[in-house]
């Protein structure tokens, strides 16, 4: 069973990488920015009626907060897995 997932992983990453290199990579903008453009085309008169209460002052700070988010998540997962591996190990010792 295990090798199957390895094969799936390998195939999908290689497809992803090859397609990514083919794609006309203009700027790798977020899909939400593209949606914003599309909204502008459909109804040019639309103005966002609310703006974010707080915006990260720079791209650097934004990536800080994004990495903090994923760090919190991986901490939770890692703690759980480590805890259970450890207790299982101790029980068998």
């Amino acid at each position: 069973m295990r090798w199957k997932y390895g094969v799936i992983l390998l195939i999908s990453t290689s497809i992803l990488i090859s397609l990514v290199s083919i794609a006309s990579a203009e700027e790798w903008a977020g899909a939400d920015a593209k949606a914003e453009e599309a909204i502008g085309e459909i109804s040019p008169q639309y103005e966002p009626w609310f703006s974010p209460l707080f915006e990260p002052p720079s791209g650097e700070i934004e990536s800080l907060l994004f990495s903090l988010q994923s760090a919190i998540g991986s901490l939770l997962i890692g703690y759980y897995i480590g805890h259970h591996r450890g207790t299982r190990h101790a029980r068998n010792a």
Partner: protein, 217 residues
């Protein structure tokens, strides 16, 4: 990629709030009940929330030349069902709306409806169907990939409903095609990646604790 702050007219923002709120409140109640009745599952709740945190922070480049991020709701919905997943998603959506200006407070209802409710719910239905025949890892793969992809289909429809390119149903459909071209194609490879990661984590969790299988919703 969630709907940006202010990018849904007040009417639609309200509609999605009304749709999402009761389910999130029920989800919060279910989380509380789960912790009281099965304190041992508290840590599994944290793990499934952690998976949503990690995956929805990763903006990954995709085939269309733009970036998007997975949702991470697959593991939560397989283990605890759609209501609890809705509540866990709101935590992440609030973090991103308040600190990252990603998504928004006015669009929180709509984003919860897509990422927290309709997407995972569809994934959960798929899981219920396939888990009788397939093993848990493969079922988790399918559930997570479906939950991820449907999330963005719903996002496209939400935008199309708010911004039809013409009158009536035809306008909505024309507009939906446009948004689907942006979101759904970008999302296909990401949904596959998310499915694989969810299946790997699920397999690992089962190895650690056999009772995980009993937990699955």
């Amino acid at each position: 990629m969630h709907i940006m702050e202010g990018f849904l007219p007040p009417l639609w923002a309200g509609v999605w709030y009304v749709f999402a709120l009761p389910i999130v409140v029920y989800g919060a109640y279910r989380v509380k009940k789960e912790i009281e009745e099965n304190p041992r599952n508290k840590s599994l709740l944290a793990v499934s929330a952690g998976f949503i945190f990690v995956l929805s922070a990763l903006k990954i480049p995709s085939v269309t030349g733009s970036c998007s991020h997975p949702t991470g709701t697959g593991v939560a919905v397989v283990m605890f069902g759609p209501a609890i997943t809705a509540f866990l998603s709101v935590i992440v959506l609030l973090y991103q709306a308040l600190l990252l200006a990603h998504g928004g407070i006015t669009t929180l209802g709509a984003n919860t409806a897509s990422m927290g409710i309709i997407g995972p719910f569809t994934g959960w239905l798929m899981y219920r169907v396939v888990s009788r025949r397939l093993d848990i890892k493969l079922s988790t793969f399918i559930a997570a990939a479906v939950a991820d992809w449907v999330t963005y289909v719903v996002t496209s429809i939400q935008l199309a409903l708010a911004f039809p390119s013409g009158g009536g149903v035809a306008g909505v459909i024309a507009s939906a095609t446009k948004f689907l071209a942006i979101f759904s194609i970008t999302q296909i490879p990401l949904a596959i990646i998310e499915g694989i990661l969810a299946a790997l984590l699920m397999g690992y969790l089962i190895q650690l604790r056999d009772t995980v299988v009993e937990v699955t919703a």
